[in-house]
Every structure is written in structure tokens, then in C-alpha cells.
């Protein structure tokens, strides 16, 4: 017997901590938004089927991008339009999971149009919930493929014209023409009667997946009061009178009953399978320990480096060089560049790991070595350096020493020394020379033999060798002095 109470589903977080802010107990959706109602119907179904522990919901791009704030299930947020592809990957790797692709009309019908068609055509055993509100809501109400003829949006201010923008796309009809999908229905979040049909369709799409039957697609017509610039109650009228005329409700395809319920064979992964399929040699790679250069002082061993400077100073190449030479010397290595708006005029940086043990993450959040090629880099990363760590600065450009006292500092006038060689652009390799001479992490010979692998222009190899030499000499003079 059903419980005699309708309340917030267990499949929602009690408090939306990921959302945070001033009101972490309410959704970010606008008043009246259909997403909230569909969320409730899905969460309720997940509760009732008892599948919360094995459900994975793919959030799209659009207003429902934050679905993972709310659903207490496995969550992945996919790039725009790619939810069906991500869902495919998850479902194939974990066939026993219940994978929900939750998408809006901009996401599914525009940028992800081909993604959904291909996933449907392959008959991926997933459940797709397609929220169609005939507009791009999140970005401020632009025209979508589903926008009605004559409908005014910010990008069709005079109303959509078929001659210019084509006709509203009927995704359910389109998908129903494909062979593989087993269930395609269009429903609408309007009155109580139609909402009951949405509830039933949501359950059917999930049940089909629980019974491992095939691809289910539910298109849910939904209001967007903000995007349509209407009161929620008025928006329901518009949906009923205008949208439902162009997007008729109904079952467009249903083979659910023809297909027998099938069991799921969970995929079992073993290291041996992987080794066999990739034809790898018989080694236990997870615990493989390499033996790079010995005799490195304890504090410089297995360094985690952050290398930062202006774009154009060669900081990324310096990182590649250290990683390349480290790899050639037998270290496990990683190199991770940081791209972004800061590439223009700000600081460029990369993270490098050299380790005798396998590396878990390429991120370097607490470097043991910071190479700061300019002042902003020192200011930005100094605080992150591990206590006892080493900071190398280009003292021709950084006119101050680090303010921390629990670290070691070496100023190298790299740019000045490079200039003496006739090319300021090899300051990075001067720094490399100084780094290896000071710490002993790598031998010069190894770096020399690695050079052609990261310096593309052969003509520059000699110059770079000289630069390395300059850096090494600087250190040996420093140490003597």
C-alpha cells in the first residue's frame, strides 16, 4: 500500500550543500519552472523502485546543469549536448547501473542533436528525459530548435519565421522513426491529468531500463515563465494552447511489452583482463617502482614542481624538459600545463611531478619546488610551497626574495645570463641548469640527451646546452662563494 503522504523524496538531498548560498534548502529554479516538477517525479520514481544506489544522472548544460545539486544519486555533468554519449559510456561500463540522461531542448535538439540520434539509433539501454520549453532558458531566452513559428525570443525579436529559421523540431517524432528505440512518448506538465501522465511515463522509462529492455525517450513539454516573460499560470495556458498544438502529446513508439525482460551481466574488471587485452608484459604496474638517479639529497628527491612565469618565457617548455629528462632517467613523471585567460599577459604555469613511485595525480597543489620566473608568479604561488621547499626565482626580474622563512631560496639571474648568450628566450634552460646543479635531481648528460625530444629546432640545441651550462656554472660559483 502506498504511503499516505506526499513529501520530499529521499532521492533528494535534505539540504543542497553543493548549491550553498543564502537558501540552500530551495532549488535555483525560477518560480513555476517545470524542471522542479520533473525532478520531483524522477526522484519519487527512484525512491519507489529502490534504485537510488545504482542510479547515475547525467546533468546537461542548461538550467538543469545543476541537477547534481539536488539528486542524491551518482552524478556526472556532461559538456553541452553530450549527455547521451556520457550516458552510453557509463551504461556500457556498468550495465547494472540505471543511467538517466536529463536534457533540455537547446542541449538535446541543437548542439547535441546528433548525439541523441546516434545514441537512440544504437539502442543504448538508457532513459532520456527531454525537457522541451521551446527556448534557451539559462542564457536568457534565445530561440531554440523547438521555438514555435511566430514565437518572440531575444534572437527572434519579430517572431520565428520558417523562411529564415526553419520549423520547430519534433524530436519525439524524429526518434520514433528509428529502429532501435523501444519507447518514445511526449507528455506535458500542465494540469493534474497530464502531470499524472508525465509521472507514468517517467516510471515506464525507468522500468524499461531496470528490466534491461532498451532505449526509452520521454519528451516533457514544460513551462519557462522567465524565458517566455509570463506569469507561471499564464505560461501553463500558453503551453496548453500553443505548444501542444505543434507538439502533440502521445505515445510515438512502444515496443516495451514485446521485449522480454533480461538480466544484466555486470561487467567485472580484473587487472588480468586489462593486461591480456592490451597485450601488456607481466608486471604489476601499480606497484612498479622505478630506480632513477641515486644519491639525490633526501629533501630534493621526488620533487613536485610548480613552474610559473609570463607567457613567452618558456615556462611550459621548461616543465616539459624536466619531465622528459626525468622520464629518460627512469622517473615516473607528469606534466600538466595551466591554460586559461591568464595566458594573456598574466602568469602561465605548469605542474611537474618526478617520482620513483607511480603518480596518482598530476596536480601540484603543494609544490616542493617553485620556479618563479617573474614577480606575479612568486606572489601567487609562494604561499603554496611546502615547508622546507625550494623557491627558485629569476633574480633579473624578481627584485625581492620570498617573504617566507621556512623555505630555501635561490635567486638565479636567468634572463640576464641568457641575454649574455645573445637570446633572452633561453632563460628557461638557464633555470633548468641551475635547478639540476643545485639539487642534483638530474644529471647534465641525461638532460643533454633528452634535449632533442623537447626542443624542436635542431639549430637551437647547442644554444640550449650553453644555457644549461650557464645555469650550472652560476650555481657552482654561488656555492663556492
Amino acid at each position: 500500500m502506498a504511503e499516505k503522504v506526499l513529501r520530499k523524496a529521499e532521492s533528494f538531498y535534505p539540504l543542497y550543500e553543493r548549491k550553498g548560498g543564502a537558501a540552500p534548502d530551495v532549488t535555483h529554479y525560477c518560480p513555476g519552472c517545470g524542471h522542479g516538477v520533473l525532478h520531483k517525479l524522477i526522484a519519487e520514481a527512484i525512491d519507489d523502485f529502490g534504485i537510488r544506489e545504482r542510479t547515475i544522472l547525467i546533468s546537461p548544460v542548461g538550467c538543469s546543469v545543476f541537477a547534481y545539486y539536488y539528486f542524491r544519486v551518482g552524478n556526472i555533468q556532461a559538456p553541452h549536448g553530450r549527455a547521451p554519449a556520457v550516458a552510453t559510456g557509463i551504461k556500457r561500463v556498468y550495465p547494472e547501473s540505471i543511467v538517466i540522461s536529463y536534457q533540455g531542448d537547446g542541449d538535446l535538439a541543437a548542439i547535441g542533436g546528433n548525439n541523441i540520434l546516434q545514441a537512440a539509433n544504437r539502442g543504448e539501454k538508457i532513459s532520456v528525459f527531454f525537457v522541451n520549453n521551446a527556448i534557451y532558458g539559462m542564457t536568457g531566452g534565445q530561440m531554440a530548435p523547438t521555438t514555435l513559428i511566430g514565437q518572440k525570443t531575444t534572437t527572434s525579436p519579430l517572431g520565428r519565421r520558417a523562411s529564415n529559421e526553419g520549423y520547430p523540431m519534433r524530436m519525439s517524432e524524429l526518434i520514433a522513426t528509428l529502429e532501435a528505440p523501444i519507447y518514445v512518448e511526449r507528455v506535458a506538465l500542465t494540469d493534474a491529468k497530464n502531470t499524472t501522465k508525465v509521472r507514468r511515463a517517467v516510471r515506464k522509462a525507468l522500468k524499461n531500463q531496470i528490466e534491461n529492455k532498451g532505449f526509452s525517450f520521454v519528451e516533457v513539454l514544460s513551462i519557462c515563465p522567465s524565458g517566455w516573460k509570463m506569469e507561471p499560470t499564464q505560461a501553463k495556458e500558453w503551453l496548453t494552447q500553443e505548444m501542444m498544438r505543434i507538439f502533440p502529446l502521445g505515445v510515438y513508439k512502444d515496443r516495451s511489452d514485446e521485449i522480454e525482460e533480461a538480466g544484466v551481466q555486470p561487467t567485472v574488471f580484473s587487472a588480468q583482463d586489462l593486461q591480456d587485452s592490451l597485450n601488456l608484459p607481466e608486471t604489476d604496474s601499480a606497484s612498479a617502482k622505478r630506480e632513477p638517479k641515486t644519491g639525490v639529497p633526501e629533501k630534493y628527491r621526488n620533487p613536485r614542481l610548480k613552474i610559473a612565469g609570463f607567457g613567452g618565457q618558456g615556462v611550459l617548455i621548461l616543465g616539459v624538459g624536466i619531465a622528459q629528462a626525468g622520464m629518460d632517467d627512469g622517473y615516473h613523471v607528469s606534466w600538466l600545463p595551466s591554460y586559461g585567460p591568464e595566458m594573456r599577459g598574466g602568469t602561465a604555469n605548469c605542474s611537474v611531478n618526478l617520482s620513483s613511485r607511480i603518480i596518482g595525480s598530476p596536480l601540484v597543489t603543494q609544490p616542493t619546488v617553485l620556479v618563479a620566473m617573474n614577480l606575479p608568479s612568486l606572489e601567487k604561488f609562494e604561499k603554496d610551497v611546502a615547508p622546507g621547499g625550494l623557491i627558485l626565482t629569476d633574480s633579473s626580474l624578481v627584485d625581492r626574495a620570498p617573504s617566507r622563512t621556512d623555505i630555501e631560496h635561490l635567486g638565479v639571474p636567468a634572463t640576464k645570463l641568457a641575454d649574455e648568450l645573445g637570446n633572452t628566450r633561453v632563460a628557461n634552460l638557464v633555470m633548468l641548469g641551475a635547478y639540476i646543479a643545485y639539487t642534483g635531481v638530474l644529471d647534465k648528460d641525461v638532460v643533454h640527451s633528452s634535449l632533442p625530444r623537447f626542443i624542436k629546432r635542431k639549430a637551437l640545441i647547442d644554444l640550449n646546452k650553453q644555457a644549461i651550462q650557464k645555469g650550472m656554472e652560476f650555481v657552482s660559483h654561488q656555492v663556492k662563494a
Binding site: 504511503e3 499516505k4 503522504v5 506526499l6 513529501r7 520530499k8 523524496a9 533528494f12 537558501a23 534548502d25 530551495v26 532549488t27 529554479y29 525560477c30 518560480p31 513555476g32 519552472c33 517545470g34 524542471h35 522542479g36 516538477v37 525532478h39 520531483k40 517525479l41 526522484a43 539536488y70 494540469d191 493534474a192 502531470t195 499524472t196 509521472r199 515563465p225 506569469e231 507561471p232 499560470t233 501553463k236
Partner: protein, 85 residues
């Protein structure tokens, strides 16, 4: 304590601070027992309110409301934890 014998009169409970005042529950209520309140809630919306009697426990408002936690409907025969005030 809780409700042990089965609730005799259905009841709708609205958490005013979670209500965004969209009015869809009011529109959906077949008994017209929900209304827009005059005061503002913490988010600056006029929250929906329940007259205090007349709820038949149909749940129409629950399935119209976009906020997961804003409306709870206790139907006739409900047994469980105490119904909120």
C-alpha cells in the same frame, strides 16, 4: 508520539520559506483552499498558504509545485510521524 490510528482529516503543509509564490498549487487546487498570503517570505515572495480546512488530500498541489520540499500532503489514513503544524 506520532499519528498512530490513521489521520482522519487530510492536511496540506506549506513550508513558506521554500515557496517562490508561483501560484501553480493555488491554480491546481480543486477545493480552492490555498491562497496567496500578503506577507513576504525570506526570499521576498508572497508564499502560498492553506486556509486550514477543506483539504481532501488529492495531492494536485504537490505535483504542481516545482520545489521538492515546499509542500507536504498528508492523506486520510496516514500513519507515521506527527503531522507538522
Amino acid at each position: 508520539m506520532g499519528v498512530e490510528k490513521g489521520l482522519q482529516v487530510p492536511k496540506v503543509v506549506i513550508r513558506e520559506d521554500e515557496c517562490k509564490g508561483c501560484g501553480l498549487c493555488i491554480q491546481a487546487c480543486p477545493e480552492n483552499v490555498l491562497f496567496v498570503q500578503k506577507h513576504f517570505n525570506r526570499m521576498g515572495y508572497h508564499p502560498a498558504g492553506y486556509q486550514g480546512e477543506g483539504c481532501i488530500g488529492c495531492g494536485f498541489c504537490f505535483y504542481q509545485c516545482p520545489e521538492p520540499g515546499a509542500i507536504t500532503v498528508y492523506k486520510k489514513g496516514y500513519v507515521g510521524e506527527e503531522v507538522e503544524a
